[in-house]
């Protein structure tokens, strides 16, 4: 168990180093950072000075080490657009994105699992077919279209919900939350639904498929042969076995929720990291892009690690076999 966690942790570190290399390469080689910083009329001598002061003359491994050490301390340089330290910008934006992503994931998980169970257990019912159709539409409509539609409907036509931004937020240290104010909650609804919809349909389809699979297994047949109640079979046996793989996928999904937040945040002008990133891409603000990459992968890797550990806790087979090669 310890070895397993350790190995996963080592792998995570490996992933982070790989991402770090990519981020560094972008930062260092995609466009000359000096050119981005100095004015056009800066003399070559001055440029060289800036270059030296930034340590760009050092051997590349040294530079990478420095970049990495700085990154570990959450120092990612200065944004070309905003002329502010990237870390400050990210820190400011992170709560918005995390709140949105968490909310979306919760929506996706709760509804996705419920709908998945329903459509697996009542797979021939009319409503299950409706759900199935809706889920297909859900994965077929691009997120931005859904967002636009929602805005048109609920903000413009009906005027029920705000169309952009986070509403009023409450500050706790550097963390800001919109969960404590009415306007913050209202503002959260549409973006998190938009963001969660895709994941929800994904989870629903996964749960449905997984559950149907489980319902076909011998141990479910055997449970029925033992005369257990349908409830005990469906919600005791089938559900637990269904949810084990769903956990992993859902964990992985949280990572993509954060990435998909890019679109949602753009559509709803949600002041999160995704919006920052899109602006950075449009304005070729490499430091922000590189830092975003790192931060997102840290979040992702951490979640993965947690999910892996969770997985071994839930599944007794793994606890035993984890130490065996696959």
């Amino acid at each position: 168990m310890l070895a397993f966690i350790l190995r996963r942790a080592l792998q995570s570190i490996g992933v982070m180093i790989a991402v770090g290399i990519i981020a560094f390469t972008m930062f260092r080689f995609a466009g000359d950072p000096v050119n981005q910083m100095v004015a056009i009329d800066t003399t070559p001598a001055q440029r060289a000075e800036v270059r030296a002061s930034l340590g760009l003359d050092d051997p590349v491994p040294v530079q990478f080490a420095r970049y990495f050490i700085n990154a570990v301390q959450f120092k990612f340089g200065v944004s070309y657009q905003f002329r502010q330290p990237v870390s400050a910008l990210l820190k400011e934006r992170m709560p918005a994105t995390l709140e949105l992503a968490t909310c979306a994931t919760v929506i996706a998980m709760v509804f996705g699992i419920l709908m998945g169970i329903y459509s697996a257990l009542r797979k021939d019912s009319f409503f299950a077919k409706v759900l199935q159709a809706v889920s297909l539409i859900g994965i077929s409509l691009p997120t931005f279209l859904i967002g636009i539609l929602l805005i048109y409907l609920f903000a413009v036509t009906l005027g029920w919900l705000p169309s952009f931004g986070r509403g009023d937020v409450v500050k706790f240290g550097w963390w800001t939350t919109g969960l404590l104010t009415i306007s913050g909650l209202k503002a959260l609804i549409m973006p998190s639904v938009t963001l969660g919809l895709f994941q929800m349909t994904l989870i629903m389809r996964l749960v449905r498929a997984e559950m149907l699979e489980v319902l076909r297994t011998d141990y479910i047949r055997f449970a029925r042969a033992r005369g257990l109640t349908t409830r005990a079979i469906h919600f005791g046996h089938a559900l637990k076995n269904t949810l084990v793989p769903v956990i992993t996928v859902a964990g992985l999904q949280f990572g993509s929720v954060i990435a998909f937040a890019i679109i949602t945040e753009t559509v709803f002008q949600w002041p999160g990291m995704g919006l920052l990133f899109v602006q950075a891409v449009q304005n070729v603000d490499i430091p922000i892009m590189a830092a975003y990459l790192l931060v997102v992968s840290v979040i992702f890797v951490t979640i993965n690690l947690i999910v892996d550990i969770l997985y071994t806790i839930v599944d007794p087979r793994l606890r035993a076999t984890i130490n065996r090669p696959a």
């Binding site: 011998d218 055997f222 042969a225 033992r226 005369g227 109640t229 005990a232 084990v244 599944d315 035993a320």
Partner: protein, 335 residues
């Protein structure tokens, strides 16, 4: 004889498919008395498992029982509402499946699975149920049952798992156990142990057993009577000794001759039935066995034979129809 524990009357089971309804079981009838072990043999696809599943009411769509009736100690059960049927399952009829490795939910301790079953059917509280669980494990021969009760299925070997499955099956002391190839996945040495266990349990509790298997040897060792199935029908049924030593149906004859034994003449060619069992979608007219049968005559190709009593045996073959002009002697010389 008193009312049989299980009485199957003219059972038909169909599976809906793109080529229409396929009849997997087509008019099967048999009884199992209290304390009796009925062996069911036949080639793969003969309908053994489906018969067992039909008896316990677990035929799932696209399959359905399309005819006949099933009686449990005189009570008709094939048309019971699902909830009532559920109460019977596990309590009065138990079933053991082929693969012990997949029959247990890997996420639950075996104790929990036992307690769950016990409490579903018997009015016991948690501690009583747990005590019974330990007793059951002891009964099926699990060493140190009070410790093993908290183990997960993957911590058991295949043979031990099948013992657990059996413990689960007898948890509520059912009248009938349907064992669908309980030993096929196990090694010979373990198989012998499990067979002995089933036999002992049947004897001790007076439970009726329907033992489904491919292995004629297992049947010969275990059963009181045997049914030989072919293509969804019973070709021959009778006391085990009679059927094994004096099979009547050409298929049963062939089957017995095709089995290599530990005693016969090893240098001799095995009896060989040409071809293989037809698919459900292509069951021939008349007797399903007629294309492979060297005694087939015209009637076999058009008319389906009904079971005919010959001594203690019943055989579904026109050769034994008293109206059939040929005499028995001719048939005797098959092997």
């Amino acid at each position: 004889m008193s009312v049989p524990v299980l009485s199957v009357r003219n059972l038909r089971v169909e599976f809906a498919s793109r080529r229409g309804a396929l009849r997997a079981i087509d008019g099967v009838s048999f009884d199992i008395a209290k304390g009796e072990v009925l062996g069911v043999v036949g080639e793969s696809g003969a309908g053994k498992s489906v018969t067992g599943l039909a008896a316990i009411g677990l035929i799932d769509p696209p399959g359905r029982i399309s005819g006949g009736e099933i009686l449990l100690s005189g009570l008709r059960i094939d048309n019971l509402p699902p909830e009532q049927m559920r109460r019977i399952r596990g309590k009065r009829i138990a079933m053991i499946f082929q693969d012990p490795l997949t029959s247990l939910n890997p996420l639950y301790r075996i104790g929990d699975q036992l307690v769950e079953t016990i409490r579903t059917h018997l009015n016991m509280n948690e501690t009583q149920a747990r005590r019974r669980a330990v007793d059951l494990l002891a009964e099926v021969g699990i060493p140190a049952p009070d410790k093993r009760v908290d183990a997960y299925p993957h911590e058991f070997s295949g043979g031990m798992r099948q013992r657990v499955v059996i413990a689960l099956a007898i948890a509520a002391e059912p009248e009938l156990i349907i064992a669908d190839e309980p030993t096929t996945a196990l090694d010979v040495s373990v198989q012998a142990q499990i067979i002995a266990l089933i036999k002992r349990l049947g004897r001790d509790h007076g439970t009726a057993v329907m033992l489904v298997t491919h292995d004629m040897g297992v049947i010969a060792e275990t059963s009181d009577r045997v049914a030989v199935m072919y293509s969804g029908r019973i070709a021959e049924i009778g006391p085990v000794r009679d059927v094994v030593q004096n099979p009547l149906h050409p298929y049963a004859k062939g089957l017995m001759g095709a089995i290599p034994t530990l005693t016969g003449d090893a240098s001799q060619r095995l009896v060989q039935i040409p071809g293989s069992m037809p698919r459900l979608s292509a069951i021939p007219q008349g007797c399903a066995f007629n294309p492979r049968c060297s005694f087939a005559f015209d009637r076999c190709r058009v008319e389906r034979p009904e079971p005919i009593a010959v001594g203690a045996q019943q055989v579904a073959c026109h050769l034994y129809d008293p109206r059939h002009s040929q005499d028995h002697a001719h048939v005797e010389s098959v092997a």
